[in-house]
Symmetry: C2
Subunit: 373 residues, 2 copies
């Protein structure tokens, strides 16, 4: 039902072996550009919004956006449970719901900066956004279904389907039962106070605060409580940190500490180089870390000299990015601006990415080159 890579590779489907991607260093392929055209990053100036406006939230869809008739949609919850559930959208909406402000980042954000590069969605910096998600806490439904004593994991299956590296599958991911029961995982039906847009998982998606976006399964259709590790492609093969192809690797889970700045001044259309007027400039940006860990500090470097930025007041939104500002007396000439966040767990952004085969979790310091006149 959830074929592993080996199972599906043996099944003789026509795309087996058709996607033997090798790492590259240099120009980007048309396939990478096609992915960049259909997926969407946040324009970095939109980091100015506490909550990202509709249509500017980053978007990564593995397969096609499914067309879901909300009247016919049902969410089933089965497997190792004492009481299976099957809910219509109207039934789901009757459960108590919560709203959480959550910063989501794609695990592949920064992939284009890991050299040699894995050919996939070539994010540079822009796969991060923040929204207000409203939905039923997952634990309510798990409490109703009563997992058996053998239950160890919970798998979430979306309605989106396709191939990856020769393996046909529905998009699916799992959480350990304890994580799934944590209070903050939502079955979200609304984003920023409106029903989910088709591209954000309409009519219902998972939101796993503090984790990279791959955990927040869109177009949710089935929840399976399992007594063994979920072997779906996106769990067993897709999202892992591997140092080389035959390394079993470790799973990609929560977001790594990271910060970004709004590039100051005005851009050149093609190069996006920035021109800034000399004088007082306030640099602004956002910082976030995974698993609800607070940001403790942000530093800004002008031409290599690091100084503390001012963090915005701590809010109630523990899963949302934190704003920061840095007053900069900009002097005429070329300057290199950088920012670096430190989380309360002591993690700090590295100056260079930690390379892994699929280009995951790149939280290296951003550099913005500016000309001041």
């Amino acid at each position: 039902m959830h074929p592993s890579s080996a199972d599906a590779a043996a099944s003789g489907n026509p795309f087996t072996g058709s996607d033997a991607r090798t790492h590259v260093d240099g120009g980007f392929a048309l396939e990478e550009v096609a992915l960049a055209n259909r997926n969407s990053g946040i324009p970095l100036e939109a980091l100015r919004y506490d909550v990202t406006p509709p249509g500017l939230h980053y978007l990564l869809s593995h397969f096609d956006i499914p067309e879901v008739d909300p009247a016919g949609w049902r969410l089933s919850l089965g497997g190792c449970v004492q009481s299976e559930l099957s809910l219509s959208l109207a039934e789901l909406l009757q459960y108590p719901s919560r709203t959480l402000r959550v910063t989501l980042e794609c695990a592949g954000n920064g992939r284009a900066g890991m050299i040699p590069r894995y050919p996939s969605m070539p994010w540079i910096n822009e796969a991060v956004s923040t929204a207000e998600w409203t939905g039923t806490p997952l634990r309510h439904l798990l409490d109703l279904a009563r997992p058996t004593s053998w239950a160890t994991e919970v798998a979430f299956l979306g309605l989106d389907r396709g191939f990856d590296r020769g393996v046909e599958h529905q998009y699916g991911r799992s959480l350990e039962l304890a994580q799934a029961r944590a209070g903050d995982v939502l079955l979200a039906h609304s984003m920023n106070g409106e029903p989910l847009l088709p591209q954000h998982g309409h009519p219902c998606r998972l939101i796993v605060p503090g984790w990279y976006g791959m955990a927040s399964v869109k177009w949710l259709s089935r929840i399976d409580v399992l007594d063994r590790p979920f072997d779906g492609f996106q769990q067993a093969v897709g999202y892992r940190y591997r140092s080389q192809e035959d390394d079993p690797g470790v799973p990609v889970t929560t977001m790594r500490v990271r910060s970004l700045m709004v590039p100051p001044g005005v851009p050149d259309w093609y190069t996006r180089r920035r021109l800034v007027q000399a004088g007082s400039v306030v640099l602004r940006g956002r910082a976030w870390a995974g698993a609800g860990v607070p940001i403790e500090a942000v530093e800004v470097s002008v031409d290599g000299e690091w100084r503390a930025a001012t963090l915005a007041a701590q809010t109630m939104h523990r899963y949302a990015w934190r704003g920061w500002t840095f007053p900069w007396p900009a002097t005429v000439g070329e300057h290199r601006l950088q920012c670096r966040a430190r989380a309360a767990d002591g993690t700090v952004q590295p100056m260079a990415p930690e390379w892994n085969t699929a280009g995951m979790g790149n939280n290296a310091v951003q550099t913005v080159q500016v000309t001041v006149r």
Copy 2:
């Protein structure tokens, strides 16, 4: 005030000559990928919607999305008029408004398919969408301002600003006075019944139905009635069909006839190759032409054999794309699917693009390669 290329190149700004782009054939540059990441195409499966949902409408912003306080925003209308205007948003909203369903396409759509390629936003097929725009007809304001007898053109200036090929400018475009007075040009304040989103020109933008998107200036701030041709960069330099660099070229204006299909079946994540189940498949897509010219026919080719598709009923929306369907008895094997539209003015999509230096107006036939099993 609106520097021409030559003026600005002579002004010694720091980006002069920093963007000497040359045509390439092969891998894409990081700059092209950065543009693809920050701009957004429509995922082709979303061609199924008559009106593109918010956030799936294609998006091309030359410079940064400006932050506009609607309370402080004013639209000025001046130049060769007998009565200058300066309107607040509240004042503009008091004028009668119209709603038009309009298909917009970026003039650079298909640029990546013109070889050798001009390095810029590397659209393949996905820079086209349809929305319902509500606003005040431009002619109402022109009637109030009463252009003088010397008036020949109307220029529209946005609040977005930056550099292109060394020239610093506000984004601006013009229309001839007669075009500007045509009933269907709108000063739009709403999209799909909601106030404009920041990225779509909030609080007010121009909508020029039937034209490529560059005419529909976003974040509108000033309208200048002129007695001579507008010499702004995007008019005089940016959007022209040129056969070689020193060709003065001709202006890019209305959209060329074009059709696209929703790729059938399910995709491979990286290559986007399609797998289709054998049997009855209904191919679907959209077709459109510029200047409100109706679509007269769409044909579909399976492996080179062309047959007529069925057009959806003609609607009142003369500026919107038209749906089409084509029943296809899909047989096991590899197949090449194509679609081709003909407009009522006799224009037909070419099989290969008509090359021009900046990669504009590529309306060549789309090809979708599928595997049927």
